[in-house]
């Protein structure tokens, strides 16, 4: 009889567990379906701009060289991404552009080429044939009767998509060829630097050779200077922005630790003399934590303006709430015997805290501070994007111009490396702290 009862109750338990283990995933799935409907996942693909995505992915790892003929003045110029400060002089033009200021030939991958004649006639040569496009005062004229795939022709505009991301556009105002090159353009030296276009071997030889390109300083110093002051990538400014982000995280985290530590004593039940004081301090911590860093940023930037100080203070306020809670929990969990021991020798409260409490809690506190320092480096990037400081701001700006995607990729790589480095450093120090 008893066996039967036990058996039945075990059966019931198993059924309940089975229901639970099947029911929970079912609820989760149902919720995800609800969210997919609420967020209009079906309509998303219609709104998505996949061409934007393709452009972005292409720009992440390659860049365009523009060769442009101004059809009014007849002048031909070539530049990187159409940037005025990255315009090639005839001397440092890439080898696949030949000719001079009034006529020229642009060789493109897979046997394609574009010729600009002095009178403005554009000839596109592909393996399939030869096409002539002439810009006129009112539009364009072509002799193309049945255009191949990738060509688009109207009275005012001709464009052809060619292999490997190359492109030819002709309008009344200008004829333009794009050719894609892999890599990040001018990453080390911009066009104004004498070191541009040199191979690694040449650079290494120059670095250790005596004859200076710039008489003012040694070659290696000049290289460092030109790299740091690169007019396109601004490596110096980017390094400073990363430093600013880490500074924000440092000030926010350790400043909050310094503020929260004394307050935590008032919130810990074994230290606070009155229940009321403890409750007030705890609610104060909840308030600081509940007003998210986002809200603190908005409020503080009204008074202090945008910048790293505002970000640091916003983080400091939120984290004071977090640390206050964590530290007071650590204080509540201490072993009280050393405190009693010190008390018996007549030590005052300050001495008891210094010699009996701090040695117990300081490793915990330090390791929590370090852990949050790493996670706050990430938050500082986000807060920087809102309050205008550090690498977050640079990223936001590069995103908003919707043009410099290679810079976006560069910043993303740097942010990831920065956070991983902080993670590694804080992990190393924490491991050492725990080992003692």
């Amino acid at each position: 009889m008893a066996v039967l009862e036990i058996n039945q109750s075990a059966q019931r338990l198993m059924t309940r567990k089975r229901m639970f283990s099947l029911g929970l995933p079912a609820v989760a799935l149902a919720y995800l379906v609800y969210v997919a409907i609420a967020f209009d996942l079906g309509g998303l693909m219609g709104r998505a701009r996949l061409d934007n995505g393709a452009l972005l992915l292409q720009d992440f790892w390659s860049y365009k060289v523009h060769v442009t003929r101004d059809n009014r003045s007849g002048e031909i110029s070539s530049s990187i991404e159409g940037m005025r400060n990255a315009t090639f002089s005839p001397a440092n033009r890439p080898g696949w552009i030949s000719g001079d200021d009034s006529f020229g030939r642009v060789a493109l991958p897979q046997g394609n080429a574009v010729d600009f004649a002095p009178d403005g006639l554009v000839t596109l040569t592909t393996p399939e044939g030869r096409y002539r496009i002439r810009p006129t005062g009112t539009g364009i004229q072509t002799d193309i009767t049945d255009p191949p795939a990738g060509f688009s022709i109207s009275n005012s505009r001709f464009s052809a998509d060619l292999p490997e991301g190359a492109r030819l556009t002709v309008t009344r105002a200008r004829s333009e060829v794009f050719r894609r090159q892999p890599g990040w353009e001018l990453f080390f030296f911009d066009l104004s630097s004498p070191f541009h276009g040199k191979s690694w071997g040449e650079l290494a030889r120059l670095a250790f050779s005596g004859d200076r390109l710039d008489p003012q300083r040694s070659n290696i110093a000049a290289m460092g200077h030109d790299f740091w002051q690169n007019g396109i990538w601004h490596h110096g400014d980017v390094a400073w922005a990363i430093f600013e982000t880490i500074l924000m995280a440092f000030l926010g985290t350790f400043g909050a630790g310094l503020v929260a530590l004394p307050l935590a004593f008032a919130a810990a039940s074994n230290f606070a003399p009155f229940v009321l004081l403890r409750q007030i301090t705890r609610r104060f911590f909840d308030l600081l934590r509940g007003v998210d860093a986002l809200i603190w940023t908005i409020i503080l930037s009204r008074a202090f303006g945008p910048g790293p100080l505002t970000g640091s203070l916003a983080m400091l306020l939120t984290e004071t709430g977090t640390f206050g809670k964590l530290f007071s929990e650590a204080l509540e969990n201490i072993d009280e015997k050393p405190v009693e021991g010190l008390k018996s020798t007549g030590a005052g409260p300050v001495q008891r805290i210094r010699w009996a409490v701090m040695p117990q809690v300081s490793p915990v506190i330090l390791s929590q501070l370090l852990y949050y320092f790493e996670s706050n480096t990430r938050s500082a990037t986000v807060i920087g994007a809102i309050t205008g400081g550090g690498i977050g701001l640079l990223l936001m700006q590069a995103m908003q111009t919707q043009k410099d995607w290679e810079h976006v990729a560069y910043y993303i790589v740097l942010i990831v490396l920065m956070v991983m480095a902080m993670d590694w450093i804080s992990g190393r120090i924490r491991a050492r702290l725990i080992r003692g």
Partner: protein
């Protein structure tokens, strides 16, 4: 004999004072770094700290006084902003759920002893590191450019980061799980998913659930911030309300209150639930021992 004790005492005191000196120097260095850092941040800020300090309370005071005058409107504004608050919560919940699923799978693949392909454990660990290191903002901004503004980029961005963050914590929990049930299941020919589902998941579920709740609270904040940069939800409403400026402060205040109340509510809820989860486990252990 007294000479020997004197020597010991002297060397002890010398050591002690040296340690104290080190401690003092470290503290001085730390304080100097903080002061210099704040000074530098102050010089890079648009407005100075001391000039701004008297007006710190102006904005909250203006917000509160205007909202107080139009107190009758505030509930209406809250009601209108409620759908976007629900959207923010949905973003946080969906990404916590997806992140937990992804994090659980990644954690099992990255835990030595449990992983089906032990050789790939370091690879999965590095993947988790990278996923953890990418701030939500980065993915959200890129996806907003491709997919357009709205909650989906935010969900993907937060989920991705959550996979990294939870994957590491889950893997630490799973490392400490007992392997005996797994061996038992293996001996009766259970497949890898069966071994994990019946041998490991019941052991780690309370701790995983506790981390998941902690993450949910963090993700609510993240989803509000992403809304601020264009991913929809209450953050977006907040941004609009602020940009309208004076005269519409009642709307801004209504949203501030809602956001604050939501964060505090979930902060308290999750901390109670987590405590119960962890304490419940302790009770179970005690019961087992008796």
């Amino acid at each position: 004999m007294p000479a020997a004790t004197d020597r010991i005492a002297a060397s002890y005191h010398a050591q002690l004072s040296r340690r104290r000196a080190y401690g003092t120097v470290l503290w001085a260095l730390f304080v100097a770094l903080l002061v210099a850092g704040f000074d530098m941040a102050n010089s890079r800020n648009a407005g100075g700290f001391l000039q701004g300090l008297p007006s710190v309370l102006d904005y909250p005071a203006a917000l509160i006084s205007e909202a107080w005058q139009k107190a009758g409107n505030v509930p209406g504004h809250m009601w209108r902003a409620l759908p976007s608050l629900v959207e923010t919560l949905n973003i946080a919940a969906a990404s916590t759920l997806l992140g937990t699923l992804g994090g659980a799978v990644m954690a099992l693949l990255a835990t030595p002893g449990l992983a089906p392909w032990p050789r790939l454990v370091p690879v999965f660990r590095r993947l988790l590191d990278v996923a953890r290191a990418i701030p939500e903002l980065v993915i959200a901004l890129v996806l907003i450019f491709v997919l357009g503004g709205g909650p989906v980029p935010a969900v993907i961005a937060i989920s991705f980061h959550t996979v990294g963050a939870l994957g590491k914590l889950f893997s630490e929990v799973a490392e400490n799980a007992s392997l005996k049930p797994v061996e038992g299941l293996e001996s009766v020919g259970a497949s890898w998913p069966q071994r994990i589902w019946f041998g490991i998941i019941p052991q780690v579920a309370p701790n995983w659930a506790s981390y998941m709740m902690l993450r949910f609270e963090i993700n609510i904040r993240a989803s509000a911030i992403l809304g601020f940069v264009g991913a929809g939800g209450i953050g977006y409403e907040l941004r609009n309300a602020i940009s309208w400026g004076q005269g519409k402060y009642d709307i801004a205040m209504a949203i501030f209150i809602m956001l604050f109340a939501t964060i505090v509510l979930f902060d308290q809820l999750t901390s109670v639930a987590r405590e119960r989860l962890v304490r419940g486990q302790e009770h179970g252990e005690k019961g087992g021992r008796i």
